[in-house]
């Protein structure tokens, strides 16, 4: 069964700092990769997704993620974080066919002034 690892449980950054959140998955076949965000008090929403093509994916709010197949990774990045980026971030993966969407344990990001 596929699994997703997010190595950072809680990240604290100052405003304008650069962000990189790690995500690794365990599945050798074709995968679909997602990053979701949950702002305080709100429901989960999609940041970006990768299905095929360019491994560098641009999402909303200045986020991007890079799919590195050889490393089974899909790390999330943002060059300069803002206070409003404070949220919990979840990496998720599904494989081909009707397999379920599996999530990592999430990374809580706190951005301080």
């Amino acid at each position: 069964a596929q699994s997703v690892s997010q190595h950072n449980h809680h990240v604290i950054l100052s405003e304008a700092a650069s962000l990189e959140l790690g995500c690794n998955y365990s599945y050798g076949g074709t995968v679909n990769l997602f990053w979701y965000v949950q702002y305080p008090g709100q429901h989960l929403q999609l940041l970006l997704k990768y299905f095929s093509g360019d491994p560098l994916v641009k999402g909303i709010k200045g986020f991007e993620a890079e799919f590195i197949k050889s490393k089974f990774s899909f790390n999330l990045r943002k060059p300069s974080v803002q206070w409003s980026d404070t949220a919990e971030y979840f990496c998720a993966v599904s494989s081909s066919g009707n397999t379920p969407l599996v999530f990592g344990k999430g990374t809580r990001l706190s951005v301080i002034a």
Partner: protein, 113 residues
């Protein structure tokens, strides 16, 4: 457009009582449906998923069950709640193929007392 409804938003139930959480999706047909439980530091744990009416896959053996009596209806149940069933339950759907994003309901905060 598609929408997902999940209710109730909060629920307090005594130990040993039954549970029924309902989720319905509008604006799409034959969706994949999911029940997740979200706990702090543990991310989104997949409980059940369904690819069609009457088809339920269980990911984690536990005190809960799921049913899909209609195409766009997904129900999470328990005959006798345990204290450990307390948590935040999320319903989600995506299209019939793996390369589509999932959309989440607002969630149900269940407290078993």
């Amino acid at each position: 457009s598609q929408t997902i409804h999940q209710w109730p938003a909060t629920l307090v139930q005594p130990v040993g009582s039954p549970l029924s959480l309902e989720c319905t999706v509008e604006g799409t047909s034959n969706p994949n449906l999911y029940w997740y439980r979200q706990a702090a530091g543990r991310g989104l744990q997949l409980l059940f998923y369904s690819v069609g009416i009457g088809q339920i896959s269980s990911e984690v053996p536990q005190n809960l069950s799921a049913s899909r009596p209609q195409d766009r209806q997904f129900i999470l149940s328990s005959k006798k709640l345990l204290l450990s069933d307390s948590g935040f339950y999320l319903c989600a759907w995506n299209g019939g193929t793996a390369n589509t994003e999932a959309f989440f309901g607002q969630g149900t905060r269940l407290t078993v007392v």
